[in-house]
Amino acid sequence: MNNAKKVLLFTILASLSLSVFSLLPNIKTRDYTIKKIDLFSDIKKDTEKSATSQPSAIVPIDKQEEKKFDTYSVPGQIINFSAKTTQPALAGFIKKLVKVKKERKGKVRIAFFGDSMIEADLITQDLRSTLQQTFGGSGVGFVPVNDISASLRITVNSKSSNDWIKRNYKSENTDGLFISGNVFSSATGSWLSVKDNTAKDAVEISLLYGKGSGDIMLDNNIIQIPKGDEFNIKKLKIANSVEVKIQTPGMRVFGTSFESSSGVIVDNFSFRGISGVEINKLNDDLLAQINIKRPYDLIILEYGVNVLFRPNDTNFDWYCKKMVPSLTKIKKAFPEADILMISTGDRAFRKGDKWESGIGVPNLVKAQALMAFENHVSFFNLYETMGGKNSIVDWANSNPPLANKDYVHPNHSGAKKVAAFLSDAIMHEANKIDSNK
């Protein structure tokens, strides 16, 4: 039997069925959108097509609000969507900063969360140094027991024995992780040794640790560590360097901290390859303890390049869905702190023999701004501040170069520049207080 007619019938009927299905809407269930067949996606009007690739607001924004939101694209400034521009953004933090400078007492603590962009204390080392010079304070802040980039870090010399049992965001068991995303369990005799290269004078050195009690050896003295909570601080000494040996196995240690008695302290919490959604894995009790014993005045979240892992992605709703819980968690745990969300920087991909910004970078920046807007936290548009489209290509190709040839990471000079953008923006806000007087 000749089936030629059947081939024709099949083709026509199948095309018709596909066309009919293309006219149906997407079906949304609670956590998943079932994508419909769409033969006509290429000929629909742009407004409809872009709706799927533009970030979508959870609550629709009205006209007046939209005007406020649109300020997210202003480069070089900390955007506080809800306040007047004559008032400082990050008001609580800025006020305290000015007060600490004037009174020369009290501490202003900043937690700088980020990915590989701030690895090895990049960006944070320059921001810390500028802020400490201007507002007082010394000490490098938090130093983890061990870190993948420890050997590259200039601001500290840190070493530790190989017998620490490490867990982190990527482990199956994430119980009891510190906000750095790491926790280190000691073996008998595990040691760590850290020298702060930033502080000229001696600073207060403390051990930050979690559950468990035991003995530690410090300068040939055995010190008993009492059984603590999820997060504890043990002051060790006033100096520039420290060497601690843990005598008891199974003690959960996070790291050390180096802080002057007053002034600005900047903690670097870098974790390579993450997007910030991992923060949601942190234990609420532990965060509450940190907020009591070592509270922060400003929390900076710098993420995004790891969300841009494919050159043609334009829709980042999936990321917002996962990131908002992390943001909510931080807000809830540190109700007194101001929060600043820094957008992704530029990231380029190879296109033939050229490098070009990923087409979705502006979409991600907008999605991040929308998250900041809806959750009432401040925003800094790093992408526009760097120079917008293809700026990372210019940075990498400039002489001397400001970024690595992976077209993702600013190098030491580039990081210095980013830190200067941030400290300038902070200074700009601080000056508003002076001029408001």
Binding site: L18, K35, F40, D42
Partner: protein
């Protein structure tokens, strides 16, 4: 709702969105083509014109004005082959053949290899030639080989040149096989054009199976694993552990198989629905017991072409052992270079050529006497598979440095302890990879049984299966991305 200017733009070539089998536009293209093809089924001439016009239009939608190139090639080789045929003097015949080879290979070289050689010159002689802005016309590698085989066959007297130009043009441009093969031979293809348009029940069900499964291999398996895993590792291997690199290597083996054989399957399936048989291009390649067998099962149309038009003319195995080995090696080197203009493809070809020569020597040293046992069989398959996968590292990596970085990670940074996290993060990718392995290993007898079952199905059943499949492709096309993770902590 519909943007009219965009609707009109659809009919023009868009470099950002070249026509492939998986575009929405293709559905309407194919339906309108079939309607006309069917209407003119009794009139062979008109039918061929329709197929020619649609094929050229497909070429235009896939590669823009390069369509002129395929028409030029067709005219040139059509005229030349007729001249060769009519020419009495052997030396003139030969001169014409050489002209044909020079022009065909010259065009291929110009478009595909100019910039590569500019780069080589710059490196060797510290010259500073700027690379030219040359785009590669779609399918040029495939139709150049088809042109060559045709003129060579005519020269050798194996084939009488075709009278009708439209048939020759269709042979070159036939849209199902235009972009990614298989490479067909004129003597197999052209005689089918004058036969009545007949699709047997078996053709219908097998064609349907090949189209649906081919698209599944390409759009679900290959694209998903590439985008959500393989590309991450190959882009920057030194950031990943040896374990991840090893998995990426095996993953890529499935990706390239599903991608390439999937596209071939769709081409063969569509051709079958048009009453044209194109021989199959892949036959369970990863189950080969040695590298020679692999090349009989992988990209069969290319290896046959290389054998008939390069290896044998070079002397094959007729001129002694050493010549046979070097011929084998040279053939694969050319075969490697054919895949792309870079040192990586040359190395890839050399590795395969070396392995083929090595296997030949091995066979002579240890001729197999009796059939080998199950375990030994598995061992040879394992060794062959791993060699082939190892070679893919060079095939997939963008640069030689990257290939070596990749290999270095496997041999020096292998860390089994990351497996649990790797597994839990990439479980979807791994599941799809396993599905790819299963599809690769499905024996032909099982497929045949399935197709016989399908033969009794009603047209509505076919349509439901097809629509459901397209629905599944859509879910994968826009599936939530799996992020890369860095495990070397």
């Amino acid at each position: 709702m519909v943007d009219t200017s965009k609707l009109l733009d659809q009919f023009l070539y868009d470099p950002q969105n070249p026509l492939l089998f998986n575009n929405g536009f293709f559905v309407f293209f194919f339906a309108s083509f079939l309607l006309l093809y069917y209407c003119f089924r009794e009139n062979v001439k008109a039918r061929t014109y329709v197929a020619c016009l649609f094929s050229l239009y497909f070429f235009y939608k896939a590669s823009g004005y390069f369509v002129v190139l395929v028409i030029f090639s067709a005219i040139f080789d059509y005229v030349l082959s007729n001249l060769i045929y009519r020419q009495r003097s052997q030396s003139k015949k030969k001169a014409l053949l050489i002209l044909s080879i020079v022009v065909n290979v010259g065009l291929l070289f110009y478009f595909k290899y100019t910039n590569f050689f500019i780069g080589v010159c710059n490196d060797l002689f510290k010259a500073h030639f700027n690379p030219l802005n040359i785009l590669l016309p779609v399918g040029i590698s495939f139709y150049t080989f088809e042109n060559l085989s045709y003129t060579i066959d005519v020269y050798k007297g194996e084939f009488k040149p075709i009278r009708r130009f439209d048939e020759y043009l269709l042979f070159l441009s036939f849209f199902p096989k235009l972009v990614m093969g298989p490479i067909v031979r004129a003597k197999d293809f052209i005689p089918q054009l004058s036969k009545p348009y007949y699709v047997s029940t078996e053709d219908f069900s097998k064609g349907f199976y090949l189209i649906v499964v081919g698209l599944f291999k390409k759009l679900v398996i290959s694209d998903y694993i590439t985008l959500n895993f393989v590309n991450y590792i190959f882009d920057d291997p030194s950031r990943y552990t040896g374990l991840e690199c090893l998995f990426a290597m095996y993953g890529y083996a499935i990706v390239i198989y599903c991608d390439f054989s999937g596209y071939s399957d769709v081409a063969i399936g569509m051709a079958r629905w048009l009453g044209i048989r194109i021989p199959s291009n892949f036959n369970l390649p990863y189950q080969s017991k040695n590298i020679t067998e692999f090349w009989r099962r992988w990209h069969i149309s290319l290896s046959n072409w290389l054998r008939d038009y390069i290896y044998i003319p070079l002397g094959g195995n007729r001129k002694g052992k050493i010549r046979a080995y070097s011929n084998q090696f040279a053939t694969m080197l050319i075969g490697g270079f054919w895949h792309g203009a870079s040192w990586n493809f040359i190395i890839w070809g050399a590795l395969h050529g070396g392995a083929l020569a090595f296997h030949k020597q091995w066979q002579q040293l240890f001729p197999s006497k009796k059939p080998i046992g199950y375990l030994q069989n598995a061992l040879w398959i394992f060794i062959t598979l791993n060699w082939v996968c190892f070679c893919w590292i060079f095939f997939k990596s963008a640069t030689i440095d990257q290939s070596f970085a990749f290999i270095k990670q496997i041999f020096t940074k292998f860390d089994v302890s990351v497996f649990p996290v790797f597994f839990s993060h990439y479980k979807n990718v791994l599941a799809i990879t396993l599905l790819g392995v299963a599809m690769h290993s499905t024996p032909a007898s099982l497929i045949d049984k399935l197709c016989i079952r399908l033969q009794t199905a009603k047209l509505t059943t076919y349509i439901i299966i097809f629509v459901l499949s397209v629905f599944i492709y859509m879910q994968f096309k826009s599936a939530e991305p799996v992020m890369p993770i860095y495990l070397q902590f």
